[in-house]
């Protein structure tokens, strides 16, 4: 997981590269580097740490350059391992995102040929391979294409040569977008990098390469030029900025109501406007996802089985890739916010190979997942910068409700009632956001603990899982989500006054059992916070703190409870002084397996 940028045009490439990299920091931020070509020489600057810390950076201009912000996969974060990487003579510079899986054999061969390597990275084979082709008399662009043919794995890389006015980039299974300006062009892993300069982009596809100079660009696939349309990105620069909030995460939590509204606006008119052909003739559904999206899938399973009676399985994408699941007329649904999650993409590829119909639910237009899948449903959440997923999770859930309702076999009247209640959810989420002070004051009591347990039953269980994930990823408190009924089978041993429990109690058939569990937990002296329906007037007798959430049909509680738990995690992390938008060791979109 890394961010790469390239620039050629009339501006100072070093300044453009730095400003573009800042916008890609969500993709990784343990080290960074910039290279420019000027007066026939390549000048490189690398650093360990986040770009946010740098001031008055300059390499003295140059109208062509590239940059990289890194999240280490091969080789620890260090100046030597930071990109750009150079060839032996320092004439060719490369930035790369992805993994070169055959780099060991390539490196061995190149070393035998006399090439000297400086870093431990897989990337460094690329400049040396280009160098070897150039030495054999190939034109720089041809040398890059020939190099790409030798690479295995996943990559998007940009190369430049000291005495060449062109950037050459190749994409294969890692994201790369070309930004089209006026007499200037941009290459980047993601759109926010170039939004400061242009909103006209060309999405590159796997196997495509692009040769860019200040006068224009050519896109090639298998050596043949291809014509691709320019698309207009509707996001403003401000869309990708904090908008007055202290952290992106808080801003994005506050966007939850709008995100639900936008998603409903998109897919819910008189009818549910989702292509019914996606679901025609299927026997069952298999969800594949990672992290927060996985929790969305668990809720999706509950919804679809409850409303539509279709069997649903949910698999971690990373595990699915090793299993041989029995499939029949299975619809495989990959949920990935970025559309670039490597494991989820691999699972989708595998499903395609097995002849399954594949649906992608993603937030990023033109992402790899959208091109891999037979069908795509977009969540309308807009760019999410905070590493911890918040609004995109709520958007995924909204889509899953619509899907479940679409394929439901319940009487139309019941469905209509549910949809009407779904329409009222944005207002209810706003009421929760208005309770921010209350939730923040509860979080003060819990910021000092090192362990927490989140429990729930039925639909409350995946809510607990996601609540725990939010807390652990941003506050570094060890938090575990558990089915309440399973506590007795082990985790009870962990309870005590130093382990608070968050109980997600839903007013449905699980209510009485949950109440029983809460009493058992209290008997072990664990402090208990309940997240409960506002009409629940007895819960307070049994717990220490209650976060009251506007009442809804129980099946819709994930949309409300989760927002309350997002706020809780945020305020705990803030009190603990954590780097909320960029938690240690984590990256926004995980493009390596």
């Amino acid at each position: 997981m890394c961010g790469i940028v390239g620039y050629v045009g009339f501006r100072n490439a070093d300044e453009v590269a730095i400003s573009a990299l800042r916008r890609l920091e969500y993709r990784g931020y343990d080290s960074w580097g910039v290279a420019i070509a000027k007066d026939g020489e390549i000048v490189v600057k690398k650093n360990v740490g986040a770009i946010g810390d740098i001031k008055d950076f300059s390499l003295g201009g140059g109208k062509i350059g590239l940059g990289h912000t890194r999240w280490a996969t091969h080789g620890k974060p260090s100046e030597i391992n930071a990109h750009p990487h150079l060839d032996c003579k320092g004439r060719i510079a490369v930035v790369h995102n992805g993994i070169i899986s055959n780099f060991r054999s390539l490196r061995e061969r190149l070393e035998n040929e006399g090439h000297t390597f400086r870093s431990e990275t897989d990337t460094e084979v690329i400049p040396h391979l280009i160098e070897s082709w150039v030495e054999r008399g190939e034109d720089f662009a041809d040398a890059v294409m020939k190099t790409a043919e030798e690479l295995q794995g996943s990559y998007a890389f940009v190369a430049m040569k000291a005495d060449d006015a062109r950037l050459v980039a190749v994409r294969y299974k890692s994201p790369l977008v070309l930004g089209v300006g006026d007499g200037e062009f941009f290459l980047a892993s993601d759109i926010p990098a170039m939004l400061e300069y242009t909103n006209r982009v060309v999405y590159l596809d796997d196997g495509e390469s692009v040769i860019v100079s200040k006068d224009g660009y050519r896109i090639l696939k298998n050596g043949v030029e291809v014509e691709k349309g320019i698309e207009i990105v509707p996001w403003s620069i401000e869309d990708a900025e904090k908008g007055g909030y202290e952290h992106f995460m808080l801003k994005e939590i506050h966007e939850n109501p709008r995100v639900v509204e936008d998603t409903l606006l998109e897919y819910l008119g008189e009818d549910i406007e989702i292509d019914s052909r996606i679901f025609a003739g299927i026997s069952d559904i298999l969800f594949v996802a990672c992290g927060t999206s996985f929790h969305a899938c668990l809720i999706g399973k509950y919804l679809i089985e409850e409303l539509a009676g279709i069997p649903v399985r949910v698999e971690y994408a990373s595990e699915f890739n090793y299993s041989n699941p029995p499939l029949s007329r299975t619809l495989v649904v990959g949920i990935t916010q970025s559309g670039e999650t490597a494991d989820t993409l691999e699972a989708m590829r595998k499903a395609k190979k097995l002849g399954m119909r594949v649906l992608a639910i993603t937030n990023v237009l033109g992402s790899t997942a959208t091109r891999l899948a037979d069908h795509v449903i977009y969540t309308r959440a807009g760019p999410e910068i905070g590493v911890a997923a918040t609004k995109t999770f709520i958007a995924q859930l909204t889509v899953l409700y619509l899907i479940a309702a679409k394929i439901s076999n319940l009487p139309p009247k019941e469905i209509e009632e549910l949809l009407n209640e779904l329409r009222s959810i944005p207002q209810k989420i706003r009421q929760i956001l208005d309770m921010e002070d209350e939730i923040s004051s509860i979080s003060e009591t819990f910021a000092g603990y090192e362990n927490m347990m989140y429990v729930g039953r039925g639909i409350g269980y995946p809510i607990a899982l996601e609540g725990a994930l939010k807390l652990k990823e941003i506050s570094y408190i060890h938090a575990e989500g558990y089915p309440a009924g399973e506590l007795k089978h082990g985790p009870f041993a962990l309870l005590g006054e130093k382990t608070p429990v968050v109980a997600c109690i839903v007013r449905d058939k699980t209510y009485d059992s949950m109440l029983g569990n809460i009493k058992e937990i209290k008997a072990r002296e664990s402090p208990v916070i309940a997240v409960a329906n506002e009409e629940d007037d007895e819960i307070e007798k049994f717990v220490d703190y209650t976060i009251r959430v506007p009442s809804t049909n129980p099946i819709l509680t994930p949309l409300t409870y989760s927002v309350a738990l997002q706020l809780f995690a945020y305020y705990v992390a803030r009190l603990r002084g954590c780097e909320i938008d960029k938690p240690r060791n984590l990256a926004k979109s995980v493009t390596v397996e």
């Binding site: 009339f10 300006g181 006026d182 007499g183 939004l195 400061e196 300069y197 242009t198 909103n199 006209r200 207009i232 620069i237």
Partner: protein, 403 residues
């Protein structure tokens, strides 16, 4: 000679019309404001144009492309953040290689005035207005610019800066030194002021014509001014029994059916169906592919392309966006019962239009049911649906369904 045209802003005072296109693309006399300006530039012999674009730039790029249809060469600069006129000019400096003129894309200036300014070494176009306090007021001595005062409460003269400049490349050096103004922008007037204080001379050139549009009702004024020059021509078809009086231009493919009565100046675009039996009164511009149906009266209005006023409608002193459809009997009121000046809400403030007769401003894609009444001064956002029989006034947010 090169010309730098500033066309990056949205023109928020022009909402709801600018929700869907930038101000410079709003049509008067059936052409975008910017097109009028480009035609005048070409007439003045200036064909090397640099357009600084930003807000919804795709509409400008899509319409003008490389400019060859107008016999000019257009290069574009994307200004993603609009930080002021000096910043816009700065973003274009890498394309400037000689003396050049600079203009606002939302003003219309005549070819004669442009040529006059272009022939000077360094100049600033000035214009006399009755209420100068809303503009940059220029103090002129012996035909030279002495000072520019932004929006003074007590203007020393009625001479204002028309935003048309002639620069030589020496002026570009002062762009770097230009600081942020009181209203938080980098302004080219500050750049000029810096140059003047170094002894660089700017000639003040009096313009004969300067059409500026700030608010939507200014479009009606601009439309009126431009329609006064319309050359009568009928390229389409006029059926027997239709009456055409005064200067009326009817473009290819349009049909005026029997019983229609048109009093110029009026322009009608391509492929319109007009009538039968409608009444189109002076100073009306009707875009392409419009339908003005039976028993419809339109007066002193701009009706943009692909819009239908099909049956029993009245539209007076109004601007109707693209792709609208009025239900039968939908009418716009344009006069208060007490005949007082009409005031409208703009960006949350009440602004006086200075007009006793003013109808409505209707954004693109608005559909009304039958017998909708739109009150004076209504500002209806784009893509609004209005149910039959509703009475609509004030500001209606885009995308609303009024039922």
């Amino acid at each position: 000679m090169q010309a730098v045209i500033l066309a990056a802003g949205e023109g928020t005072r022009m909402r709801p019309l600018t929700y869907t296109k930038p101000k410079v693309m709003l049509p008067v006399a059936n052409k975008p404001i910017l097109e009028h300006l480009i035609i005048e530039l070409k007439k003045a012999g200036i064909d090397n144009l640099i357009l600084v674009v930003g807000y919804r730039s795709e509409t400008i790029r899509g319409y003008f492309s490389d400019g060859s249809r107008w016999g000019v060469k257009i290069k574009y600069i994307e200004q993603r953040r609009q930080l002021g006129t000096a910043d816009a000019l700065k973003s274009a400096t890498h394309l400037i290689n000689s003396d050049f003129i600079m203009l606002n894309g939302d003003n219309i200036v005549s070819a004669e005035d442009i040529a006059k300014i272009a022939s000077s070494k360094r100049a600033l176009g000035v214009y006399s207005v009755p209420k100068p306090q809303d503009f940059g007021v220029v103090v002129v001595e012996d035909g030279k610019v002495k000072r520019i005062i932004e929006k003074p409460s007590q203007p020393p003269t009625n001479t204002i800066n028309a935003g048309v400049y002639k620069f030589d490349t020496a002026v570009l050096d002062y762009l770097e030194k230009t600081g942020v103004s009181e209203r938080g922008e980098y302004e080219v007037t500050d750049t000029i002021q810096l140059a003047i204080s170094d002894g660089i001379v700017f000639e003040a050139v009096e313009l004969n014509r300067w059409i500026d549009v700030g608010y939507p009702w200014d479009l009606l004024r601009a439309n009126e001014a431009l329609l006064k020059d319309v050359k009568p021509e009928i390229k389409g078809e006029v059926e027997d029994g239709a009456v055409i009086k005064g200067n009326v231009f009817i473009d290819e493919g349009s049909v005026v059916m029997s019983g229609s009565y048109i009093i110029g100046p009026v322009v009608i675009g391509r492929n319109c169906r007009i009538g039968p039996c409608c009444f189109i009164r002076p100073f009306t511009s009707i875009g392409d592919n419009c339908h003005i149906g039976a028993f419809v009266e339109v007066k002193n209005s701009i009706v943009m392309s692909n819009t239908n006023l099909p049956h029993l409608n009245y539209v007076g002193d109004s601007v109707i966006g693209e792709g609208c459809n009025f239900g039968a009997g939908t009418k716009v009121a344009n006069l208060r019962l007490d005949e007082r000046e009409i005031k409208v809400p703009v960006k949350g403030k009440i602004v006086s239009t200075g007009r006793k007769k003013f109808g409505a401003v209707v954004g693109d894609g608005v559909k009304t049911g039958i017998n909708v009444s739109i009150n004076v001064g209504a500002m209806v956002g784009n893509d609004v649906f209005i149910a039959p029989g509703k009475v609509v006034g004030g500001t209606v947010e885009p995308g609303t369904f009024l039922r």
